[in-house]
Assembly symmetry: D2
Homo-oligomer: 246 residues x 4
């Protein structure tokens, strides 16, 4: 039995990498290039990329129709993403496409749209250590991970994170400076699956980390759709045996 590959589109704002030398050094071709290259080495996954400054932000109807799972990294230019494209992505997620929101994507229009909340959080840039605890070792997203893994330097994201109660919370992070964070959150909306994953500040080589990339790969597999289907408002057929109005 041939199984179809999961088609991923890796979306990136792609601005820091052009304007900030330190970021450019880590990600010379952009964060998206590193993530897509990694995914393309995984069995059963094929990944392309799209960036903010392309026409339609690279997310044409054709591209989305050919996408099973979309990953999203944005930070300084959330407001430049057009509402039309946000509508289009939301519609596609509700029809079944998977969506993986990375790091500062918590404040993207599309994540706030799907969550219905501010998605605000506490933060600090202090090169501190993060330890991500795996609270669901039996979940597909944590496949192959141990009890926890560490990132030697990350931006701190802390509670309270203003999100709906996750359908499944899979990682809780500990930060050296005294904060905690729900850093891996699974949601189901419409027919689609959404995963928020906190690591990925642009000034650290987070997307070269083996554990981080294992989680993203797992999340792609978990979020791949079983159906893609419009969500309608059917008027049920009349029924013959109902009483007349009083």
């Amino acid at each position: 039995m041939l199984k179809k590959k999961i088609r991923v589109t890796v979306w990136n704002e792609f601005r820091h990498e052009k304007s900030d030398a330190a970021v450019k050094k880590i990600y010379p071709d952009g964060i998206h290039a590193v993530i897509a290259a990694h995914l393309n080495k995984q069995e059963g996954i094929i990944a392309g990329t799209a960036v903010l400054d392309q026409p339609e932000h690279g997310l044409t109807r054709e591209t989305l129709t050919g996408t099973d799972v979309l990953t999203w990294w944005g930070h300084i230019a959330h407001s430049e993403v057009s509402d039309e494209i946000v509508n289009r992505v939301q519609e596609r997620v509700l029809e079944g496409m998977g969506l993986i929101i990375l790091h500062s994507g918590h404040h993207s229009k599309i994540f706030k749209r799907l969550m219905g909340t501010t998605c605000n959080l506490r933060w600090r840039e202090a090169n501190e250590k993060e330890r991500l605890w795996n609270v669901e070792p039996g979940h597909p997203v944590t496949d192959g991970l141990g009890d926890y893994f560490e990132l030697p330097h990350e931006e701190m994201y802390g509670e309270r994170f203003d999100i709906p109660n996750p359908d499944k919370l899979v990682f809780i992070s500990w930060f050296e400076g005294g904060e905690v964070f729900r850093s891996g959150c699974c949601y189901e909306r419409g027919h689609g699956r959404i995963f928020y994953f906190q690591p990925g500040h642009e000034t650290y080589p987070i997307y070269y980390d083996t554990n981080v990339m294992q989680v993203i790969t797992n999340a792609v597999r978990w979020a791949a759709p079983r159906i893609i289907k419009k969500i309608e408002t059917p008027n049920s057929p009349p029924i013959e045996n109902l009483p007349s109005p009083a």
Copy 2:
């Protein structure tokens, strides 16, 4: 100890009651007038009203600041509600205000905004019987209700209802024609509580029903805020003992 009254604003589109003689007969002063009159008879509750055609839809900043719980009925004019007012109501809910969405309000901008989904459903107008089963007899919203209650004639709303998994599902409805519906759904978003309650088609005297009004009264008490607080994005203070970057 004097306890402050819960301040309710009963919002109504108030269009059917003007244009449709059958509806006008049931609700000569509008659905809002009937709901508010009922609530004003309850201990510890004080209710006012607001309608679509007032300036700012009757939902000025002053009104919302003075509102603990907002109830919402709309149907044919969802698109006339301005996005600015929707933003304002959403912000207030996330800060802690309670929100009770009635019947066809499932397609209101504010409910779709807070849920992040289409909120689509199946429907039929056939004067059929609805039976609402109480699946959470210990929950504040079902206080005083029995195992189930019936409405002799209602519009059918059926599954699949495209909503996020409710934080608590309190009613499931049976319809004579063969459908079921999650007709009482509790959510928590930001610091606010939201209750969706299905009964209330404008051509039936639903808001004169004792059980329906008991549920709405209970929901008002359940959704009344414990805190009202802006949701911010604090930059945590720097910490002295963290390592230098590598």
Copy 3:
């Protein structure tokens, strides 16, 4: 890449089929034989059986170690299942084995043990029609199912069903006589997945129904473990840099 088959053990009380001629006519070799035969025709699944009157109820340590997913049908002899075997099954589920509870298994010791509640419900035997609504069309358990499917005659199981809030509710049933029921409920406990599925009264040929068997097959695939791992109480290593007691 060769993928291992999912090893299923189909457990049955196997009493009605011996003592009741009508049941024997439908299931001459027992309910378990019909379910296992169906599963053995599915790609990637291999199924064996076990019954109450075998030594250790057919659930030896060896059998459980070789079982990825256990399905359970019981009714009149729940009390004859030994507590020792219930402990053993519970331990294995928490370590990661999938468990599918069928119909009257809602009152089995193992289901009540894992839920922590009475699992009581409303019931009636009246040959009535059941319609199962698919409320999660994107979920693996409903793969290939339509908006709903029907069983022409089933025992009515109705709300309130005394269970914890399901982690995911996938089916809600409508019964001709006026009741509703949460008839497909997903849970995660320890590292294991549990699915409760209501159809299966012994006097109707429910386990020959195409849709019912599709759901059970889907549930087997969904509940198959990703890890099997003891759940321990580790004493974390001492840390050097902590303060002395005050």
Copy 4:
């Protein structure tokens, strides 16, 4: 309108306080005495106590009938609690009584019974600092608390905590040594509400802490029952208009 007081029974194993001089110094009359004294100073609450070595562990049918909320502290003698009393408490919780499980009560028979899981966790005694983050500032259990509060010395309890997904997670703890913990967890089972709260190692004066006692007081109010009702298995009345069997 006179509102009835919430009747609390504070249960304690009461063994450490007799055998361990350091614990006796902190709690000369037992942990239960300190908790009950605090609750008795709160408006609308009246608290009594019960301990393991009383007949029926102090939890006679009369006592439980007169109890709205039971708090539970145990550690070294969980196995001495009789199964009969555990059954009785479980039955009462499912009928509506509130239950607050403190600290090492995570391994009590009653908590494991109601959760269905091992309730295992990671631990370390190292006098380390704990910081409890309030992730639900709008929830009744966190009423009056700030963004977080600290305990200068506590036993570390860490993830993975083997519990069902909480119905509402209200506190997440940070520990100095590098662990995190879901330290405030709300559940609803049957008609009853259950709150697990992690602080309370016997060698520290935790139950004299203002914030800890505020949380316990809030939890008592949140868990107080709205109804107390047996959970039955009703055979629904026959219905006349159903078809004959095929």
